[in-house]
Amino acid sequence: MIQGIFHYEFLQNAFFTGIMIGLIAPLLGVFIVVRRLSLIADALSHVTLAGIAASLLLGKYFSAFNGLNPIYIGMAFSVSGSLFIEKLRGVYKHYQELAIPIILSSGIGLGVIFISLANGFNTDLFSYLFGSVTAVSRTDLWVILIISIFVVLLVFLLYKELFLLSFDEEHAKASGIAAKSIHFVFILMVALVIAASMRIVGILLVSSLMTLPVAASIRIAKGFKQTIFLSIIFGETSVLGGLFTAYYLNLAPGGTIVMIAVLILVLALAFKKIRHKEPEQVGGE
């Protein structure tokens, strides 16, 4: 595959996109998990599917949309979905998690309608559902690069505000920081990263890349920065390991990436269990 990267553009696209997704998905994933918003990624990925189906449908009937990369309308849907989730979380203050299934089912419902209106699509849609290495275009690569720079820069600049908001929302508000605006920027980043990630792992698996590496690192890390660092390491290992394994064993890359992330999680859980047993034997707390 390494040789192939120098020869084939599609392999280059997949490889570099993979590196970027392996970085930004777990980076935002850490904040999502600690804020107990893990399922938001699932809801937004289904909304993204509706956007992609809408784009493909428009392309079928209007030639102006034919050449348009479906990722753009997918992103627009994802961002709108994130705004609706926020609105609903405000409406159902005591049942905030309700916002997620409402948006998830709306997204999938709308997507199914668009697909049926187009009397079914070709394999294009299948690649969005489960991810595809060959489907990543140069345009996708550039779009994802811009999103990655934007996300990394914002997380770097707003780190201490994001940390405070995640750790203690009430205290963040009482201390007088612009909690609402920062949360809004955060949700916007999540929507963009989900739309970007689905090219490689697919809509159905995108949330796993934001949560599994974090679930593993949260068990063994000391401190928040180390949690982020380990999550990114696990995310990169899953994506790159998955891409190579899938290439050589001729497997679906999305599924392979997720299964490597699951394997890392199992190892982290086992590591924690072994390490936890040791102090117990010497009478630790």
Partner: protein
């Protein structure tokens, strides 16, 4: 005015829909005071704190902080706030004690600014002030309830506040640690010249460590110096709480709480 009050509450009333929670409250907290607000559940203590912290909008009356009307008050970093830990804190959160305390500097540093060496020293000093400096690298979830609450006080101290507000800080803290916890608060008040506002059930501690006491049950039943409060008879307290109250003055193996 000879000395400006840190908090000045005048004719404050508040209602949730039809329910009147606070009625005509007047409280003044002088500089350097340690005011304890006591009252039974549902007496409006938490609502009063939320109003003082600007988390609820004023309906009737005035609140002045450091002489400024609360609606125009901007120096929130001068106020440290320690909430009831259990309500707002996820014990599985993967953050170190140092990171939690450093987050108290967020507002003071401002947007797009990072921790410098000097700030790191301030964080360690705050941890020392509450006796938690040896735990700086531990994850917050690994500590006991009392230790966690000390960390939250250190977080409130890093922005070098002039006023520290604590909402039932000893809930979930074991009895043995409660006394040393209040001793630490008293030390902050006396040696670091921090004005304290404490909401608590713990009447025993109040009369011992606090300088001023306010008894709240929708109305203000008492507001004055702690020594006057101590002279109040048990039967007056029973009237106030609506059931029998026994003062256990400072034998902390019994917790010093009302029955």
């Amino acid at each position: 005015m000879t000395e400006q009050a840190i908090i000045e509450i005048k004719n404050l009333s508040y209602r949730y829909e039809k329910d009147m929670v606070l009625e005509n409250i007047n409280i003044s907290v002088p500089k350097g005071a340690f005011l304890a607000i006591v009252g039974p559940n549902g007496s409006g203590k938490s609502t009063l704190l939320k109003l003082v912290l600007g988390l609820l909008k004023l309906q009737k009356g005035d609140i002045r902080l450091f002489g400024e009307e609360i609606n125009h008050f901007k120096n929130w970093e001068e106020i440290g706030y320690v909430s009831q830990k259990a309500n707002s804190f996820n014990t599985g959160f993967p953050a170190s004690v140092f990171e939690v305390v450093a987050s108290g500097l967020t507002k003071k540093l401002g947007l797009f600014r990072f921790l410098k060496k000097e700030d790191k020293r301030i964080v360690m000093d705050a941890l020392k002030a509450v006796g938690m400096d040896p735990f700086s690298k531990r994850n917050i979830g690994e500590l006991s309830g009392g230790q966690q609450q000390r960390v939250f006080i250190a977080r409130a101290l890093v922005s070098e506040p002039k006023l520290l507000i604590l909402d039932e800080p000893t809930v979930g803290v074991d009895i043995q640690n409660v006394n040393s916890f209040y001793q630490m608060l008293s030390n902050l008040n006396k040696n670091h010249a921090i004005t304290l506002l404490l909401v608590t059930h713990d009447i025993g501690t109040v009369s011992d460590k606090a300088t001023h006491v306010a008894c709240l049950n929708k109305h203000l039943h008492f507001h004055g110096e702690a020594s006057e409060f101590e002279q109040m008879k048990n039967d007056e307290m029973s009237d106030f709480y609506g059931h029998e109250v026994q003062m256990l003055l400072h034998q902390h193996e019994h917790g010093g709480v009302y029955k």
